[in-house]
């Protein structure tokens, strides 16, 4: 008899959900912000631990200028999304000097020399832009070959990371 294939896990779907190319900010200390299946995209959190204000951004691509669309969604691209996340978190009452930044995602396919380097491009661009914006990045949980789902707990600023078939961990 084949072993049962179902695991006794209850999928965690609660929280303020951030879609792909989307952003959410909350000043509710009890709020949990979640984004699913980052792949090569980046999930970036900004959190003020003194005021329990947090924001989560899920960007897909590094550079909006390479996309000639009439309406650019700011949260789709790093260069437009991260400044917007910073501005929105500050507007919500966060203190810029207290802000902690954490970056997740940027997974990569095997042997992708000249194709499908979105993950690496996102990570490289985030190193540069976060420095330009003066953000204090505490955590780089990036690259590798795993699909990450993340949850930001506004009370503590901790981020729970879930990857397929592995134990969850906190960063």
């Amino acid at each position: 008899m084949p072993e049962p294939i179902f695991q006794n896990l209850i999928p965690q779907r609660q929280g303020l959900v951030v879609g792909v190319a989307d952003m959410q900010v909350s000043a509710d200390p009890e709020e949990v912000l979640v984004t699913y299946a980052l792949g090569s995209c980046l999930g970036i959190t900004l959190h003020d631990p003194e005021r329990c204000i947090g924001g989560l951004l899920h960007i897909m691509l590094p550079d909006s200028s390479l996309h000639s669309r009439t309406t650019v969604r700011p949260a789709m691209f790093l260069d437009t999304g991260l400044p917007l996340l910073l501005e929105t978190v500050l507007d919500a009452g966060a203190n810029r000097r207290s802000l902690r930044c954490k970056v997740f995602g940027g997974a990569q396919l095997l042997s992708a020399d000249s194709f499908f380097r979105i993950g690496a491009q996102n990570v490289d661009a985030c190193y540069t832009l976060s420095a330009e914006l003066g953000l204090r990045v505490q955590v780089w949980e990036v690259s590798g070959s795993v699909n990450r789902t993340i949850r930001l707990f506004n009370r503590t600023g901790e981020v729970l990371v879930r990857v397929p078939a592995r134990p969850e961990f906190t960063r």
Binding site: E3, F116, P164
Partner: protein, 290 residues
């Protein structure tokens, strides 16, 4: 002698591919209604790999006596008519594999369905972008490309746990580790299942070879390459990607031969995501027509 289920045993265990539990009732409800268009039916069936395969199997059945194979859901619906679809919706089974996490490939509920949908959408958009493959066929091929993994997850979860421990070292790709542990891989299962069920050669060739389009000689190479590109993009976007997802090699030679470039493919990403937003909620629930 492997202690895991053989390829033939996996095939014998797989009579059909179940449908997503929340999509099947919608199809049945539509069939019961006084008025339903083929477009309505197509929109529902194209959301689910299990339903898509059932419809294609029935449309390509030898009992219908047609020599021309149906490669798209639209053509299959036209061939079958609503009465046959009504029978099919009544006998289809909802699969509990979509209700719960599944070991083996590390899927959360609905992951394979979300991933298949994203590959289908990506294949359709990429084929419209470079005009090398027929977009309707590319969509269908993308939707059912990983059907063998469902059968593998059911029949060989123990073997897949062993595979997981061998990737990325000593085996860099999931496919090579599956072959080392089991003697065959998910693409072999897909190929044999789709052949057994009488699906068109183009769809069989995609399922068998989408990881290695350079190996294809002949008229289906553009289609297989398009699905390979779509698979890679969908994986990068993360929709429903399991523990195996990132462990395959990009066939750059095949992509270049079809004039794909990284810039061209990245240009398609916003359109893919916007289309996925029409089909899947931010929570990952597949939307069915209201």
């Amino acid at each position: 002698m492997s202690r895991h289920a053989s390829l033939d045993a996996v095939l014998e265990l797989t009579d059909s591919i179940p449908c997503a539990p929340h999509i099947l009732p919608k199809l049945q409800q539509s069939m019961d209604g006084s008025y339903v268009t083929t477009q309505d039916l197509q929109a529902i069936i194209e959301l689910d790999p299990g339903l898509a395969i059932s419809v294609l199997r029935m449309a390509n059945s030898v009992h219908l006596g047609k020599t021309q194979k149906c490669e798209t859901i639209a053509n299959a619906i036209l061939r079958l008519g609503t009465s046959a679809l009504s029978r099919l919706s009544a006998i289809s089974q909802a699969g509990n594999w979509l209700n719960q996490p599944i070991k083996g490939y590390g899927w959360d509920p609905g992951d394979l369905c979300r991933h298949s949908l994203c590959v289908a959408v990506s294949a359709e958009i990429l084929s419209e972008f470079n005009s090398e493959a027929e977009s309707g066929v590319a969509y269908t091929a993308g939707l059912i490309h990983d059907v063998g993994k469902i059968a593998m997850a059911y029949a060989n979860s123990e073997g897949l746990a062993e595979v997981m421990n061998l990737v990325p070292s000593p085996y860099p790709s999931w496919e090579s580790a599956e072959k080392a542990v089991l003697g065959y891989c998910a693409a072999d299962v897909s190929e044999r299942l789709l052949q057994r069920w009488g699906l068109p050669g183009a769809l069989v060739e995609v399922a068998a070879s989408y990881l290695h389009p350079s190996r294809i000689v002949g008229k289906n190479r553009a289609l297989v390459t398009t699905v390979h590109a779509a698979k890679s993009l969908a994986t990068e976007l993360g929709y429903g990607v399991g523990v195996d997802g990132f462990y395959f090699e990009v066939d750059e030679a095949a992509l270049k031969s079809l004039n794909f470039t990284e810039e061209k493919m990245q240009a398609c990403v916003p359109a893919i995501v916007e289309r996925m937003e029409d089909l899947v909620t931010p929570e990952g629930v597949i939307k069915v027509l209201s």
